[in-house]
């Protein structure tokens, strides 16, 4: 229970930071950042001591930067420089930031890189795991499916792919763009082990990340809510783009208390 409470407090703190910084930097992708907070918190608290993490949905970097500040990779001063002139914190995740393995921003790049990284671990006979967090819209990219063919053929069981399945992409709901369903069957047919979880339930996130896959890459389909934690931002395409005004920020912070 203590662990759960810790997760909850940390997630709430990070959500508040995301909102405040987005307001001050007038930056977009707030909904995408709020969507992945709970997954990131569990991953960083419990699973990344020796392992490697790649954020493939680089536009949700604000959540990642807030987390890196909590784990002392960057200072609060650096975090507050997000999106400002001459900062190292551009609004897509960057390898120039301490603690970040790989820069993304253009979708469909994180998984192939993670596959190469996982293959290198196998060649070197090391047992580090590679975690890659992808967006659902990103699954439209052909490299996703190319990489899965390769990863399953080479039995990269040290590769864990987490899908932030909030069901909204840039212009519309995923079901109205290319309809990803039946998503789990697609991954299973490619030869992956698959778990479907509630991406805001710490117990389910923890349990799914603890699974040890054998001979197959592992996919966690995390059902999430875009804008999670702030009712007027939840499940809204608008909050892929908008940054909160001062009034909206005050309302959102009140809700997170």
């Amino acid at each position: 229970m203590l662990i759960k409470k810790n997760y909850k407090n940390l997630s709430r703190h990070i959500r508040k930071q995301i909102l405040k910084i987005s307001n001050s930097a007038k930056s977009s992708h707030v909904g995408s950042s709020l969507s992945i907070v709970d997954i990131l918190v569990v991953l960083y608290k419990r699973f990344l001591k020796k392992n490697i993490f790649i954020l493939s949905k680089g536009h949700a970097c604000l959540a990642y930067y807030c987390l890196l500040e909590q784990f002392s990779y960057i200072t609060n001063k650096v975090l507050k420089s997000y999106g400002k002139n001459n900062t190292i914190l551009l609004s897509h995740v960057s390898h120039k930031v301490p603690g970040v393995e790989f820069s993304t921003g253009s979708l469909g790049h994180g998984l192939p890189f993670a596959v190469g990284r996982a293959l290198a671990e196998k060649i070197n006979k090391k047992n580090r795991k590679i975690y890659v967090l992808m967006s659902d819209g990103e699954l439209n990219e052909g490299t996703t499916w190319e990489s899965l063919l390769f990863a399953t053929f080479h039995k990269l069981d040290n590769l864990t792919i987490i899908i932030d399945y909030n069901k909204i992409q840039s212009l519309d709901f995923t079901k109205n763009v290319l309809q990803l369903e039946p998503l789990n069957k697609k991954f299973i047919s490619f030869g992956c082990n698959v778990r479907i979880i509630n991406g805001h339930n710490y117990f389910q996130i923890h349990k799914s990340l603890s699974f040890k896959s054998k001979n197959r890459p592992y996919v966690i389909i995390a059902n999430t809510i875009k804008g999670k934690g702030v009712k007027f931002m939840e499940n809204s395409i608008l909050w892929h783009y908008k940054s909160p005004s001062n009034q909206e920020l005050a309302d959102a912070i009140k809700e997170l208390r």
Binding site: S103, G105, P112, V115, R117, T143, F150
Partner: protein, 290 residues
């Protein structure tokens, strides 16, 4: 050139097990020996060039020096953004190897011709362009790359076994390698080439042995600064390349000068864009080099 490349890569991999070769289901009659000798260092990733560059970046980030082998447009334009973001931006030791420089694939047609690849690859700040003129330059270039792993583009002629140097020349970024030096009164005029086109230049332009000829096998954005002092020794430099003029080697040389003060006339002999609608052998299509 393909076989010399593999020969050098095999020698290097015997000593350095961090060398990895990725191919996209191409390289028949070329890559088999490498695969046989080093099965753990060789991967046929299937026909998926964009992902291939991503895998290469991931492997390189873990300490590997990755060679990615394909036909010219497939390992460059098809995966241009992956080269830009994953390799060049991260400054990772991946060597993109392309076969079929210029119109080397003759009647296979425009889809297989490398006529704009310099333009693309030289636009990446960390990318070293490596375009050896003959098999001796090729051996030297590969040895240079093995010693200095970095984002690089190795451009190979499809089937040239041409040898113009008697010894393996020393190569370095931006260096002009002497091929013929003439002692007559036209000292102020030289031909300058990059890549296997040097064979064509020797055959077509050097019958009278009238001018000097230099080859520049390694160049790129970072070695522009070195060019000014070399350029100003000449009144006229005739640059020959198996590429369009736009964005090519001559354009790079031109950009390397300080235009206001440069008195050198840098002339371009390059392949005409009319090649897009022509069909024929490499020799036939090379007539469009003007």
């Amino acid at each position: 050139m393909r076989n010399i490349f593999i020969d050098e890569l095999i020698s290097a991999t015997k000593k350095n097990k961090n060398i990895i070769l990725l191919v996209n289901d191409l390289g028949f009659g070329v890559v088999e020996e490498f695969c046989r000798k080093f099965p753990n260092n060789y991967f046929n990733v299937g026909i998926s060039e964009q992902s291939m560059i991503g895998y290469a970046a991931g492997l390189a980030a873990a300490g590997k020096h990755v060679f990615v082998y394909s036909i010219a447009n497939f390992s460059t334009f098809r995966c241009a953004e992956q080269i830009r973001n994953d390799i060049d931006y991260h400054n990772l030791p991946v060597t993109v190897v392309s076969v079929g420089a210029g119109v080397g694939y003759g009647n296979l047609g425009y889809t297989h011709h490398a006529l704009q690849d310099y333009a693309l690859m030289r636009s990446f700040p960390n990318m070293l362009i490596v375009s050896p003129g003959d098999i001796m330059e090729l051996r030297s270039c590969i040895r240079y790359l093995i010693k200095n792993p970095q984002p690089s583009y190795l451009r190979l002629d499809k089937s040239s076994k041409y040898k113009i140097h008697s010894k393996i020349p020393k190569v370095s970024p931006g260096k002009w390698i002497k091929v013929f030096k003439n002692n007559n009164k036209d000292k102020k005029v030289t031909y300058l080439t990059t890549g296997a086109i040097i064979n064509h230049v020797e055959k077509k332009f050097f019958k009278k042995n009238k001018y000097s000829l230099y080859s520049v096998p390694i160049w790129g954005m970072k070695s522009k600064k070195k060019q000014n002092s070399l350029i100003k020794k000449y009144k006229k430099i005739i640059v020959v390349e198996d590429h369009f003029q736009d964005g090519g080697f001559q354009s790079w040389l031109n950009e390397s000068t300080n235009n206001k003060n440069c008195k050198t006339n840098i002339v371009s002999k390059s392949i005409s864009s009319s090649v897009v609608n022509k069909v024929g052998s490499q020799d036939y299509l090379m007539r469009l080099l003007k």
